[in-house]
Symmetry: C2
Subunit: 333 residues, 2 copies
Amino acid sequence: MTDTRYDVIGLGNAIVDVIARADEAFLAKHDLAKGSMHLIGPAQADLLYSQMGPGTESSGGSAANTIAGIASLGGSAAFAGKVADDGLGEVFTHDIRALGVGFDTAPLDSGAATGRCLVLVTPDGERTMNTFLGAAQELGPADIDEEMVAASRMLYLEGYLWDPENAKQAFVKAAEIAKTAGREVVLTLSDAFCVERYRDEFLELIRSGTIDMVFANEHEVRSLYQTGDLATAMDALGGEARSAVITRGAEGATIFNTGSRVDVPCEPVARVVDLTGAGDLYAAGFLFAKARGMTPEECGRLAAICASEVISHVGARPQVNLADLARENGFPI
Amino acid sequence: MTDTRYDVIGLGNAIVDVIARADEAFLAKHDLAKGSMHLIGPAQADLLYSQMGPGTESSGGSAANTIAGIASLGGSAAFAGKVADDGLGEVFTHDIRALGVGFDTAPLDSGAATGRCLVLVTPDGERTMNTFLGAAQELGPADIDEEMVAASRMLYLEGYLWDPENAKQAFVKAAEIAKTAGREVVLTLSDAFCVERYRDEFLELIRSGTIDMVFANEHEVRSLYQTGDLATAMDALGGEARSAVITRGAEGATIFNTGSRVDVPCEPVARVVDLTGAGDLYAAGFLFAKARGMTPEECGRLAAICASEVISHVGARPQVNLADLARENGFPI
């Protein structure tokens, strides 16, 4: 455990978000379930884009957002994910490297374009995501740098990686390297529909101890245990996972840590503008604080502060220096 | 004057903004004068991009922002400007058409890439712009649709068009068409350094009556009359232009209209996040209100409301429906 060059290495779909406002009628017309992530093909992506409102483009991807947040807090972080050798790929690469994140995955030089997510934000701030994976799904085991994974205190994996077969293999390889090196492996369940698709595999990863820590929101944890009762689902995850963090939006979060339970409130915001990235930045604050040896309560509080920043503007990446924000809130980092 | 299909047609550099936070030291290191616009070449653009922080991409361009604002208010608007047949060109085209703006300028099919502006936003909300014009400078007289210009109540031109020679010719051609059709021609001075470069030409356009109405901020009007004294410069412009609107940020704006003067306060905002687009959206509110026959005071008030929306978030295009915002503020539109 001597070489810990990175606090966290993240593995995820490398995606650029195209964010636009939409009303409920637009979601209904396009048969989109609000708040979830839909995988779409290139033709669907073109059609939806042509019908949606004016957008803003910004780097996204769930694990990539978390890694960006950790770097903005002053943590040392790396990311592996696949972009294409095109304009959006350049944007993604620039944005993550500009934060000091180690990002060296070779871009795909032929074939699919860089993945993009058409994010529709309704007036309530909820986001509905439509993802064209493109080059992201070409991430494979060969892209996993064994030495880099072994040199990271924590490996952070997104459940979305189970959608592309290659990426799933990369996930499994990275988890094996981390376990062998004695590192912690952290999984975010990503999305309730994603859990629907891979419930048994995710449960097996948790039960086998491959995953040490799980991030989930209320929908995902209910989907994991196929119950409408949140308390039942939370207790089940808290009992099975070594550590688990369940976020419940304005209700705050519950942290299970080797049997003990802590509830942490959310951080108030003047106006919720866009929930994109809320869970990702929660995880960023939590993992950074954990790497700095803070208590679960402190981890939850810094997590909530990071999430509150990202939901107060459009886009899933922080727009302020999170280390400054943490210091303003009394964290001596 | 019977066929007035459009309230306003705008002519400008078609640009996509890449917006990032920067501190004062970064501006100093790169020798950039805060608050102004710098023209840069492709090599400079690559260098600056590689050194600036993570960004968000959103459609921009001064006159294009104004036209987008007019459309968001419910006005009928058109735009002429040149993008390339590339990814950013697609973004620009999508975003302006999604608002219902008539935009049919043929994209450049070879040569330069779509123009982009690297916008650096300092902690005070001020923006410093570094523009690589790219395809935008290929806008020429052949791109001016005579019938479309003649069918617009007002022609809105940005001073920046005088930088590329072709675009200047397009400017002159459009102004001639509009005058012949008995339309109003409106000029925004764009930038104090832009005024430095073309002072004599701009003054001649105003004095000859080619331009009916001028938008300027305090720096631009001082530059136009080469005086440090704002009152002197404002009186000079008010005396020479048929109409003039001088914006002074938090100090409000002064409207001269055939000799009479009105001062209108700015609209308070909770926090100035990014001043990019403030002047452009001020012009949008003003011209829309003018097209609806409102008084100068009402024009100034709606203008201030539109500007206050755009400075409260990152990016130069409105993120809410401005017609709704106008109605919430008591405008029966």
